[in-house]
């Protein structure tokens, strides 16, 4: 497992107490389109803090009523699986076709199953 996320080129956040400089931190934005649906990744933006990230996300990602709820998380807090290891990581699922309903051959007269 690696700890970096989709954004590869970001500087790590400054040490506590360090004088702020450069880009505002990067945030990932998740939007719930309507009640009953999951929050889904919409994109990312820079903001000085969480409140600003939410307000900017509203302005950028929900101008046409695309959202009823917003989550933001600072990108550096997202842990991602690594692309190089995805082969071995997902391998255990590869040979278990019997987990799918289509694996089972049943007579056609069988209904509602």
């Amino acid at each position: 497992m690696s700890t970096d996320n989709e954004h590869t080129g970001q500087e790590k956040s400054p040490a506590p107490g360090a004088k702020p400089q450069g880009d505002w931190p990067l945030w990932e934005v998740f939007i719930r389109n309507k009640q009953g649906l999951d929050h889904k990744h919409a994109g990312s933006l820079h903001a000085a803090d969480a409140q600003m990230a939410i307000e900017n996300a509203r302005d950028v990602y929900t101008r046409r009523m695309e959202g009823v709820s917003i989550w933001v998380v600072e990108s550096r807090h997202i842990h991602a699986s690594s692309a190089e290891e995805s082969g071995s990581l997902f391998d255990p699922a590869n040979d278990k076709v019997y987990r799918h309903p289509t694996f089972y051959e049943l007579p056609e007269e069988l209904k509602y199953m």
Partner: protein, 318 residues
């Protein structure tokens, strides 16, 4: 077990229409091409706000003013989607902004022309956004995932831009003689720069073949340009106006419109920074950036102050 060359694996994925994601291996040149193309595209969205923003205060009605503000705000959003996509390739936002502000980075040369009348706002929507859409729709299937996703979002929002532009021209075309003349004048001035937006002819475009192999581009410059001209040649009839090209004529054999020579000397001049508004646009961007510096600093200082206050309020919480 010997592993296949990464370039071969990469090209194989692209050929099978499997999208490339940020952490995947990719050729250096693919990364560089994308950074250049996506950041130029982002800069174009941002600089593109300037010629239209000039008309917000002078829009003829409240409805037109509200629409124009919404459109300019969309362009800012499009810039942001694209900057964020470029950042996934390892370049920082501030680096890209610096490249724009110092004049090193390019942006679409169309935005170096002046918006002289209200009809220009209509012509930009119809022709400039129309050409942009023609370019952008195939980019929704670009091989690089974050770019394609940004383009899907942009295309969804962009179609209102073109329709509102055409509606402005349609209204003017049904107006007084002066309004009709204004409409035709704007079309005359914006037509050829819009046709040039598709870039140099295919035989003068050295990167096209590689970009098509990598499936960043899906159509050549000339293919897209022809499609645009075919569409506009029909649409202009609805306006009762003409396109300023005496050689524009339907070719029954080719099933396409033939059109006149493009003035590439002018294109190169504007590209080199000698267009009507190159200096003005960059000055405006630099001014906005400098005048916003204190806001960016204050926001960071405020966030830091609140973080420290939270720490002091709950010193034992880990």
């Amino acid at each position: 077990m010997p592993r296949p060359e990464p370039e071969i694996t990469f090209q194989d994925k692209v050929n099978r229409e499997i999208r490339i994601e940020p952490k995947d291996w990719m050729p250096d040149q693919y990364r560089k091409t994308l950074i250049r193309q996506i950041s130029q595209h982002a800069h174009s969205e941002i600089v593109g706000m300037l010629p239209e923003a000039n008309w917000i205060t002078r829009a003829p009605t409240l409805k037109r003013k509200a629409t124009l503000i919404a459109k300019v705000q969309d362009e800012a959003g499009h810039g942001l989607y694209l900057y964020a996509a470029a950042e996934t390739l390892g370049i920082s936002r501030s680096e890209m902004i610096d490249q724009l502000l110092c004049g090193k980075a390019k942006y679409s040369s169309i935005f170096n022309y002046s918006t002289l009348s209200w009809a220009d706002v209509g012509a930009i929507g119809w022709l400039v956004d129309g050409a942009a859409i023609m370019n952008q729709v195939p980019l929704c299937r670009a091989s690089y995932g974050p770019y394609a996703r940004a383009m899907i979002r942009i295309c969804k929002e962009e179609s209102f831009h073109q329709r509102q532009g055409f509606e402005i021209l349609l209204t003017l075309s049904g107006g007084s003689n002066a309004q009709r003349a204004m409409c035709q004048d704007a079309i005359n001035r914006w037509w050829w720069p819009s046709v040039m937006m598709f870039g140099p002819n295919d035989d003068a475009s050295p990167h096209t073949a590689q970009s098509m192999k990598w499936k960043i581009k899906r159509f050549t410059n000339d293919e897209l340009r022809q499609k645009f001209i075919d569409v506009c040649a029909e649409q202009v009839k609805i306006l009762g106006m003409t396109l300023p090209d005496p050689h524009l004529v339907w070719n029954e054999q080719k099933k396409h419109y033939d059109f006149g020579q493009i003035d590439w000397a002018e294109f190169r001049l504007v590209l080199e920074g000698k267009g009507p508004c190159n200096r003005e646009r960059l000055q405006a961007r630099n001014k906005a950036h400098e005048e916003g510096a204190w806001v960016r600093e204050a926001a960071l200082a405020y966030a830091e102050k609140r973080r420290l206050a939270d720490l002091q309020a709950a010193p034992l919480k880990v």
